[in-house]
């Protein structure tokens, strides 16, 4: 036990003394999560609109007055269609609207008035969203009597703020990447500096060395997660917590141990830190993409859906989103705990054996 604690302490000391690594970990847990939450925008926001208005101007002004922030910038006016398309070409504006001479007349006479819309589709999702908004606005001016009225109730995230989801997803991805890399580094650093041989010659059960080393990295990650959840998720991003935070930390602990297993595997097959970074990217990127962090799993190809069922991250993400947003009770979280635990035991056992063979 004393030996276990000695190794654990040594690993923590050497982590906190490697300045670069500490800064990197802090950066990933704070700035990276924050930037992902605020920088990645899928909704239309702050869209630049250009207008050519050949109509009398009454009706068009009414419509344009509905284009306001945060979705749209104040519309810019152009004299001709040519100027407008040039502006789109030069990326000055994203959406161009043309009201022709007949527009207002046709509107009052119910003669199918048309607005021509030019759109820059290089930013595909944003421009489609923008069209959606404009259509919604125009609906108000249509004198149609819709037989069905939609009344929307947004659950779990009342403002439909994607930033919150992005922040959480990014944190989970960061946990995944950092755990593998840090665990692998803890072992491979010794290979690089030549202390590996000395470690092998110590009269210590290798299992204790492996456990102590991986636990030390798990502790570091858990510290990072605590900082990130407190400072970034709750303080800056205002992520709600509808479930039990303790459940989140327990689930995270299991998940981190799982990923540490992957780290052990990588450490076993890498000779230097360079190889770690290459291997972790090759192994971890598919896991992150397939996990549902960026795309819902049900939207994937059926084959990929099966694969994603065996990535621990997919259970972890579902579990965490349930805890943060849906406020799910512990009993209903059990499938996620189960998924992470089962895959975790398999992965950690495999990594443990793989690195154990080097002793």
């Amino acid at each position: 036990m004393k030996i276990f604690l000695t190794i654990l302490l040594k690993e923590l000391v050497s982590f906190f003394r490697s300045f670069g690594l500490v800064i990197l970990v802090i950066y990933f847990f704070t700035a990276e999560v924050y930037v992902a939450a605020n920088g990645m925008e899928i909704e239309a926001k702050n869209v630049a609109v250009g207008v050519v208005d050949k109509s009398a101007g009454g009706m068009s002004k009414k419509i344009l007055s509905n284009l306001h922030s945060p979705e749209f910038q104040t519309p810019k006016f152009y004299k001709s269609q040519k100027e407008l398309s040039d502006a789109i070409y030069n990326k000055d504006i994203m959406v161009g609207m043309i009201f022709d001479e007949q527009f207002e007349k046709n509107y009052y006479k119910n003669l199918n008035p048309t607005i021509n819309i030019l759109i820059d589709s290089t930013t595909a999702s944003q421009s489609l969203m923008a069209i959606g908004y404009i259509q919604n606005i125009l609906m108000k001016f249509n004198n149609l009597k819709l037989p069905v009225a939609l009344k929307m109730h947004k659950l779990f995230n009342q403002n439909a703020d994607t930033g919150l989801f992005m922040g959480v997803s990014e944190l989970l991805s960061v946990i995944t990447l950092l755990t593998t890399i840090l665990t692998a580094i803890a072992f491979v650093k010794e290979k690089e500096s030549g202390t590996w041989d000395i470690m092998l010659l110590m009269p210590v059960n290798p299992k204790i060395i492996i456990l102590a080393k991986s636990l030390s990295q798990i502790i570091i990650i858990m510290l990072g997660v605590t900082i990130s959840v407190g400072l970034i998720l709750f303080q800056s991003l205002d992520v709600p917590i509808n479930g039990n935070l303790l459940n989140f930390f327990i689930l995270t602990f299991f998940y981190v141990a799982t990923t540490a297993g992957i780290g052990l595997f990588i450490a076993a097959v890498s000779k230097n830190i360079m190889q770690i970074s290459q291997l972790s990217i090759v192994i971890m990127m598919p896991i992150i993409f397939l996990s549902g962090a960026w795309t819902p799993i049900y939207a994937m190809h059926p084959l990929l859906q099966y694969i994603s069922a065996i990535t621990p991250l997919s259970y972890y993400i579902e579990g965490c989103e349930s805890i943060f947003f849906r406020g799910t009770e512990f009993i209903d979280l059990l499938p996620y705990f189960g998924g992470v635990l089962i895959l975790g035991v398999i992965l950690y056992w495999y990594g443990f054996r793989k690195i154990g063979k080097l002793f």
């Binding site: 000695t6 000391v13 050497s14 041989d197 110590m202 009269p203 210590v204």
Partner: protein, 535 residues
């Protein structure tokens, strides 16, 4: 003609070399001698124009003060950096190397050049191996090929950084023959650094480096003549002195027989002049009685293969208690592989190993013996991000030594081995000699019965090396520890009780030290004795 005026080089504000001035004439071989970190490489790099420096360098009519200005003399310079085979490409053959260096130097291929090239190849004895890949060459052949490639464009100024370090004695002599011949034939200026004092006699002029300064200059006879009055047979005295092995150095007059000094003596006399006295290193006697002549380690026909390549082939070796066994050989002779197999860091591909009378078959057999073995790895690998004290505490705790006892032990050893000043510093910032002793202390914390040391004296200065050997003798005499040590310095054989000589993975000699001298009564040094085995 090359003239260097007030050369100074600094690395990160630390002066590596200062106020270096000297002149070399055409056809002269100038040698830089000194320990690692004494500033030899910095000086060579500056002259080759590959790093920034202060001062001025005059080469014939050209003068340069920066790497940029040195560009105009580059076609006259042949530069070979430190490290075996560093300028070579492992997957290219010798012929492809020659073609590559011919093209990259844009050399006109005419009859004259072809003659010159063949002349170089035959000097180096490489003409028979043109189709062999560089990766398959021995260390000595690699260095000869590097030298040929460096000389292909007929440089007038050859700058070679430790071309012979770690190379077997025979190849070293051959390398020197090429250098001496080319100096004579082509009238080149050669500046060569070396870690081997024995090579000094082959140089026309020597600059002796110590801590970034030149402490002596002249040819080897002059240098030895200068310090003759300060070197005595071993004697006790109250005057300021340094005693190492059976020699006493003292600046004042002693009533004792004078001894013939060696070039190593220069460093001790210099230390005395600068008032750097050596701390007295002593190790407390262990209470247990020491039984001698017990076989501690017995290896029979040990073999290790990497692919088709035999790193060790049928090596027999025996280590008795209270014995210092030297495992000598050039780089790549299989010393480290052998020691790693003994330690169980590499599996055996053949042969049998017995430790403390027990056959070693699996890792369980080993685990029982781990507490009886101490190991110092090449380059003294310890944890860089922990201080000396923390490192020692860590290892003490791993060896289940009680905390209080550990603190006492650390205190004792740091005083005995003279590094108590450095206890709270990081290993990286320490001089190599201190690192060496601190690594030794770590390896004997748990009082092992046998100690394995892999190249502990490589790159360490002459004084620290001599001290280290004294320490090993103390350990042997007072603790009865058996020691197996590898080194590529053939001259260090004299400190051992028995020597095993390895060449290309095979044992070529194994005898007690005194017997070697009996076999070769005419030989002046171990270098010469071992040369016979390499021929």
């Amino acid at each position: 003609m090359l003239e260097v005026k007030d050369l100074a080089v600094s690395h990160k504000k630390k002066l590596a070399i200062k106020n270096l001035s000297f002149k070399v004439a055409d056809g002269e071989i100038l040698g830089f001698i000194g320990a690692d970190g004494a500033g030899k490489s910095s000086a060579l790099n500056a002259i080759a124009g590959v790093i920034k420096f202060d001062g001025e360098i005059l080469y014939n009519e050209f003068s340069y003060k920066s790497p940029k200005e040195a560009q105009k003399v580059k076609h006259d310079i042949g530069y070979m950096p430190q490290g075996i085979g560093l300028v070579l490409y492992k997957t290219l053959t010798i012929k492809e190397h020659l073609d590559f260096f011919t093209d990259i130097r844009d050399i006109k291929i005419d009859r004259e050049f072809l003659e010159y090239k063949n002349h170089l190849l035959s000097m180096a004895g490489l003409e028979k191996f043109l189709e062999r890949r560089a990766g398959d060459l021995s260390g000595g052949m690699m260095q000869k090929l590097s030298l040929v490639c460096t000389m292909l464009h007929r440089p007038k100024l050859l700058i070679l950084d430790e071309p012979t370090t770690g190379v077997d004695p025979l190849s070293r002599i051959e390398l020197w023959e090429i250098l001496q011949q080319s100096a004579k034939e082509f009238n080149t200026i050669s500046i060569i650094s070396t870690a081997y004092m024995g090579e000094a006699s082959k140089m026309d002029n020597i600059l002796l480096f110590d801590e970034g300064e030149i402490i002596a200059r002249g040819n080897s006879e002059q240098l030895i003549e200068e310090i003759k009055p300060f070197v005595y047979d071993k004697i006790e005295t109250d005057k300021k002195h340094i005693t190492i092995s059976d020699t006493t150095y003292c600046l004042e007059n002693l009533e004792n027989q004078h001894q013939k000094p060696t070039l190593e003596s220069l460093f001790f006399v210099n230390a005395l002049k600068k008032d750097r006295l050596l701390p007295k290193l002593q190790i407390a006697k262990s209470k247990e009685s020491i039984d001698k002549n017990v076989v501690v380690m017995k290896a029979t026909k040990i073999t290790k293969k990497f692919g088709d390549f035999y790193a060790n082939r049928d090596v027999d070796c025996e280590l008795k208690s209270g014995e210092i066994l030297g495992l000598l050989g050039a780089n790549g002779a299989g010393k480290t592989t052998f020691i790693k197999m003994l330690l169980g860091l590499l599996p055996l591909d053949g042969g049998e190993l017995e430790l403390f009378d027990k056959k070693i078959k699996n890792s369980d057999d080993r685990n029982k013996l781990k507490s009886q073995i101490g190991y110092v790895s090449q380059h003294f690998a310890l944890y860089d991000d922990m201080t000396v004290r923390e490192n020692m505490m860590f290892f003490a705790s791993i060896h289940k030594i009680e905390t209080l006892k550990a603190i006492k032990l650390i205190d004792n050893y740091s005083k005995e081995l003279g590094f108590e000043k450095y206890l709270d510093e990081m290993p990286k910032s320490l001089p190599l000699g201190i690192n060496q002793r601190f690594s030794l202390a770590v390896s004997i914390l748990h009082e092992p019965k046998v100690l394995f040391l892999d190249e502990p004296t490589s790159g360490v200065d002459a004084i620290a090396r001599a001290q280290f050997w004294e320490l090993l003798k103390e350990l042997k005499n007072k603790r009865g520890i058996s020691i197996l040590i590898t080194t590529h310095y053939m001259s260090e054989a004299e400190f051992c009780d028995r020597v095993v000589l390895l060449k290309d993975g095979e044992k070529i000699a194994d005898d007690r030290v005194e017997n070697f001298y009996k076999k070769f009564p005419d030989a002046k040094s171990f270098e010469e004795i071992f040369l016979e085995y390499f021929r």
